[in-house]
Symmetry: C2
Subunit: 156 residues, 2 copies
Amino acid sequence: MTPQDDTALPETSAPAPEEEAARHASARSARASALTEDYVEIIADLLEREGEARPTDIARRLGVAHATAIKTIARLKRDGLARARPYRGVFLTDRGWDMARKMKARHQTVVAFLLALGVPAEVAEVDAEGIEHHVSDATLAAFERFLAQAARGDGR
Amino acid sequence: MTPQDDTALPETSAPAPEEEAARHASARSARASALTEDYVEIIADLLEREGEARPTDIARRLGVAHATAIKTIARLKRDGLARARPYRGVFLTDRGWDMARKMKARHQTVVAFLLALGVPAEVAEVDAEGIEHHVSDATLAAFERFLAQAARGDGR
DNA sequence: GGTTTAATGTAGCCAAGGCAACACTTCGCG
DNA sequence: CGCGAAGTGTTGCCTTGGCTACATTAAACC
């Protein structure tokens, strides 16, 4: 109940009301797509690795009950990202594949970036799972610049 | 159905099932706390800046209807993060202030880090809003190391 | 002091994303 | 070929986090 922390910080300037609202709206929307992106990414991975994506495997990978996965898959179908026929596995539409490719690249970049920063591998994987959905193209590009530079020998 | 995974592709290695599920569970739970953290952060900011935090202002900052804010505030109360009496504004408990301080520091670090990486200011603000909720202590520490190093003159 | 206006609160609706319980297909194996 | 196990699908329930519409309270201004 006591602020007490007014420790002479450079006092961030007062927020511009509309802009802050817009930022939060944007973060909310990213949060909303995050699950969809996870599903698509996992389905793509299963299709590539195993040749098929079964609801139970998807659920297992996500740590969720199979009923939940099936319900979400229905939404993916409704939204034109996946196709599926009863008992026949799940497939991606072209749009689904596009999203999957994008997310896979993004995931790899984020993980590589965190590792390059010195974050322990297990932590990097966990954090990347959350961060990847909130990284804009501009920030992703900055990550890549950093990686390229680090690869060039850190010297710059 | 065909394993075929012996091919020694440089491809990311097959996921460890339980671990991946745990990672996703972790990301889901971070997603769930994100909203709470945003509310607490904003309430703290309003209290420090204006001396009071009114539901309408909170709602405006978040870009949601006031009814939504009020409902969420009730949840914060239920969870022991805030206190509020009808028509008397919202206050934070000690736990609420703890969370607020943590999130504020985290936010500032993430923004500073992105800026240092060369991300444009507006983008950094937007991305930070999403990223800050998914950055573990270890990763935050890595961000701080980077900042310190950059401050020391980039050369290292 | 009464009236208008702004803020606050309440109610009811919706979609998402969880779950458990139950029913129905498929498929592998004896 | 049949049967049982594993996978799939359905149902109904819960909580969150949005919304609108309406009711109520507090504050501001004659």
